[in-house]
Amino acid sequence: MSADTFAPSLPAAAELSADAAVVGAGPAGLAAALELARGGLDVLLLDEQAEPGGQYYRRPGPEVLDAVGDHRPEGGRLVARVRAAGVRVLSGHTVWGVDDDRRTLLAASPGGAALRVRARWVVAATGAYERSVPFPGWQLPGVVTPGLAQHMSAEGVRLGRRAVVAGSGPFLLPVACALLERGVRVAAVAEAGRPYTPGPAALGALRFPARLAELASYAARLARHGVRLHQDTVVARAHGADRVEAATLVRFSDPGEVVARHDVDLLCVGYGFRPQADLAQLLGCAVDRDPATGDTVPRLTPAGRASVPHVYVVGEAAGAAGAPTALARGRAAALDILAASGRAPDRGERRRLAVRMASLARFTRLTAALYPAPAELVPALARRLPGSALVCRCECVTAGAVRGAAAAAGGSDVPAVKGGTRAGMGLCQARECGPALEALRADGPGTGAVPARVPLRPLPLAAVLGPAPGEDA
């Protein structure tokens, strides 16, 4: 549908074209864009943040870096190389959908103006977001993801006076350290699994001493500050009226056993990262359910090529595996595209990269094995949610309502639960409640995965009316 069918007074969407459009300027997108531009392609890099860098190299403004320090100067250097290679970098641009041709990207500029982007190759480098599992009180202000705590600490903000960091995964440790650095007292770190008790699962990781040493150094810093590290422990409830005031921690293996109750004004809870694969889905790429995480992941060749051959998915969007893997995946996809464009890159370079990626993949598997598998952890936590707990924070739908809808005839699939309760239909598009929603539906033959929906982000009206309208609301 053209713009004038809908709003004749609006200017038509601006059009941009390039050999390759890369969506997401994190480590993966930056690495891909750099390699493609070096190979002679005309590259557009779109990202909705104020500056390139993604999550790992997220960069506050220069004034903050001057005052607070730059944790990852290599990020700034990579961005500079990308610009110098001639990549057209469009920061503050949100890609919110894909046109009916399943190729043209629909984007909105910082001012909300519509933009259409056509490219021979599309590289989805949209990263990951944190896996949330609801608990009573998680909607209270002051309850945040570990990633928010990390980012705000890097911006120099002291988020609270006393915090608990909880969930699962290696990320909790550096986040607790970042809070300490800002003068927040960290009462405890609660990890659902038992990764820090040396056992058989940890032994394989000994082959990667540098990465383990990094984790050990965080743990040592926490110990020096007297931070308790509770294992087999999860948040049962956040207490408070208008803001979080306390958190109750219980045993994961025995929720009846209270481990501690801490008075806090900041509670950071997250269960690792989930790939943001929705753009790949809108582009028509086949996806699978990862049995260990329950996440939707695009089906890819080792170089990142999707089932739709002009689309590549790189970085955490292809599966959470950390920044070094994201960089390697970005490069590998770019080299594959260059080869397919007849600009044969050095074969040896591709082989060396493949070896490096295999080694990184082994490390990722070993690290993952230390922590509980999300596909088991999330249902276990969702099952014990009291009926009054909010599952969908956007639409205020309780666990009880979701269970009721799932128990109704034909209600066991996620679309039916969403239709019946509006759970997962809110603005975040089930990014926060999705894993719990899937776990809460009655076991049955229903559709598990929460489908991708247009627009990927809510948008200013002008951007939506400019190009084609979104499908369902």
């Binding site: 004034e63 001057d66 977001y129 202000p141 928010l148 208008d242 924070r393 205020c396 975040c428």
Partner: protein, 92 residues
């Protein structure tokens, strides 16, 4: 939560009141540093909500910036002279 003094501060308006904030941070950081966690009011429950994800996906941090509604404050940078309105300001 005392703002650092290393860089000159810039003036913005929060809910109609002028405040000095550090330049170069996100709007969310600027509000949090003012001790604010009540960025928006949940329309269903009528309760306050504050930033949750810090990366643009939860939309709990939406505020009005220079009259533009639904701006994700965790993705937007502060600028001198910026007008920031939270739900609390709209009530007042």
């Amino acid at each position: 939560m005392t703002p650092r003094t290393a860089a000159a501060q810039v003036e913005v308006t929060v809910d109609g009141r002028p405040v000095l904030v550090r330049p170069g941070t996100s709007v969310a950081a600027a509000l949090l540093e003012q001790g604010r966690w009540d960025f928006r009011v949940d329309p269903v429950s009528g309760r306050d909500r504050g930033p949750y994800c810090g990366m643009g996906v939860c939309l709990e941090c939406e505020v009005t910036v220079d009259g533009r509604a639904h701006v994700r404050s965790c993705l937007e940078r502060v600028r001198a002279g910026m007008r920031i309105d939270t739900a609390a300001g709209e009530d007042a």
